[in-house]
Symmetry: C2
Subunit: 299 residues, 2 copies
């Protein structure tokens, strides 16, 4: 069997249960970040790695500064999804030796600017020669208070589903310039009990089923309610991916106070109720095209 | 200027001072691991990333299990160099989608086996499609007690320089099978005041000057004293690289007790005094061929 016949979730599911469990590990694979204990520290240690690859996540002629920004922010967005604070990043760069130094300097310009936006310190770099596509890997470590960590697994039946921002059309430029919703996630968990959360990297059509599955629930979507990016169809909002918005589940009791206080705090960022989690593990919106999944063709 | 004209140290030196400093960062780039504070935790948090690349660090026909072992152990070896304990690892894999699932399964078999050898939990994986060489990146987090962390910078003039094991000829097979000197490093720092330490990944000819430079010292080597792997010349011991042995500096007052108690504890692993650090920042062994440095041709 070739990798192209498997989705990434299937690949990881096939491989990772063989890893050794460990009492210090609270959550390994299966959420946006790994959540572990560090010694006797009160806060939880969050760990995440992600990468962008030339010709896959960025075109060869993309400004290297934008590549650096995107590479860093993709990883930091996973901290937002846990309501965490990223603190430290490591950069792994595999790049052909014939590439110009100026490209790497611009890449680091973007990496540094993105890291500085959230006071993240780049504390290490590993650079290797390669034959073929440039790979920029970003690993990050950070923390979250024990009572503010939000997993994908905590959704309840009848919880409202909210998304931040607008969905779809990210490829036109937003995917290179987005700002992870770290501040918004921190505000959410300081004011409301958020039951489950995920960042929309692969698209609502992929990431919502992931959240529902992790919570052992189904979901209903009100397609007319989806907050569409200008010029985008509901299908694009569901399938394009790379929105890097937050999708979260919260009790319907919080609905009105959440909407009102969000609008006061973040007047420029829409917050939209798009549906709810349901008790049945079936998906009531039958036609739900999948988001972008590595190793599987976009449908 | 192209990357091939710069060594990796020069590249990092050129780029990384632009990163933001941070009060929680004790050591960023410039040692084997980054050393940072995590909240109010007593122990220090160690972070490290490294990668192996197809056609650079392993041949395309290398057993994927050996690739996984090597990828994991290279990163863990940097924890040995700080006298640290690795606890958690993240795997970043960029691989062509036409590759067989069985290759990835074997890779993870090697990764898991290596991680289990040191009770390291693999807590995350990111997999991406690529065009060209396979890249396996391993990031790890772990800890070291504040009073047992060993940097490259702490060497004193007249310190003895010791190396563990034998040097040279790693490419014949050792580079795919080595066991990082974590247990040995922990034993050293529990019994002696080790002033400075590094793991020999790029070869004595590259890594000893790095340690001496970090300590603002020079060094003398007794070439006849080098512990040679069977069939290797002193030049090979200096230049081959990928030994993954420890090189450390310790007061000559400890010389005899160190040799004696090491021989009792690790009878099968040679421990050899190969020279000493010197006050002058000059290198007294003129003909010192360089180890393997990425982006620069082997001399």
């Amino acid at each position: 069997m070739r990798l192209s016949e498997l989705g990434e979730d299937n690949l990881l599911a096939k491989i990772l249960p063989h890893s050794q469990p460990n009492a210090r590990v609270i959550t390994g694979v299966g959420d946006d970040c790994a959540v572990v204990r560090f010694g006797a520290a009160k806060d939880l240690l969050l760990l995440k790695t992600d990468c962008v690859v030339g010709n896959i996540h960025f075109a060869q002629d993309t400004d290297a500064r934008a590549v650096g920004w995107k590479a860093m922010m993709r990883t930091l967005s996973d901290f937002a999804a846990m309501s965490g604070i990223p603190e430290f990043a490591l950069v792994t760069l595999a790049i052909e030796r014939k590439r110009k130094l100026s490209w790497v300097e611009k890449l680091y310009h973007g990496l540094n600017r993105a890291a500085a936006r959230f006071q993240v310190a780049i504390v290490g770099g590993e650079t290797s020669d390669t034959r073929g596509s440039t790979v920029v890997g970003i690993s990050a470590a950070g923390y979250v208070e024990r009572d503010r960590c939000v997993w994908r697994t905590g959704g309840n039946a009848n919880d409202d589903l909210f998304v931040t921002g607008r969905l779809g059309g990210s490829i036109r430029s937003r995917h290179l310039k987005f700002i992870p919703r770290i501040d918004e996630a921190r505000w959410l968990t300081s004011h409301f009990r958020i039951h489950a959360m995920i960042d929309l990297s692969d698209g609502l059509g992929t990431d919502l089923p992931r959240l529902a599955r992790a919570s052992k629930l189904g979901f209903v979507i009100e397609q007319n309610a989806l907050p569409l990016s200008p010029g985008c169809s509901p299908e694009q909002a569901i399938s394009d991916g790379e929105d890097y918005e937050l999708l979260f589940a919260v009790s319907p009791r919080n609905r009105e106070s959440l909407k009102r206080s969000w609008a006061g705090k973040f007047p420029k960022i829409p917050l939209t109720r798009i549906g709810q989690l349901t008790a049945k593990r079936e998906i009531r919106k039958a036609k739900f095209p999948s988001g972008y999944v590595h190793f599987r063709q976009r449908r």
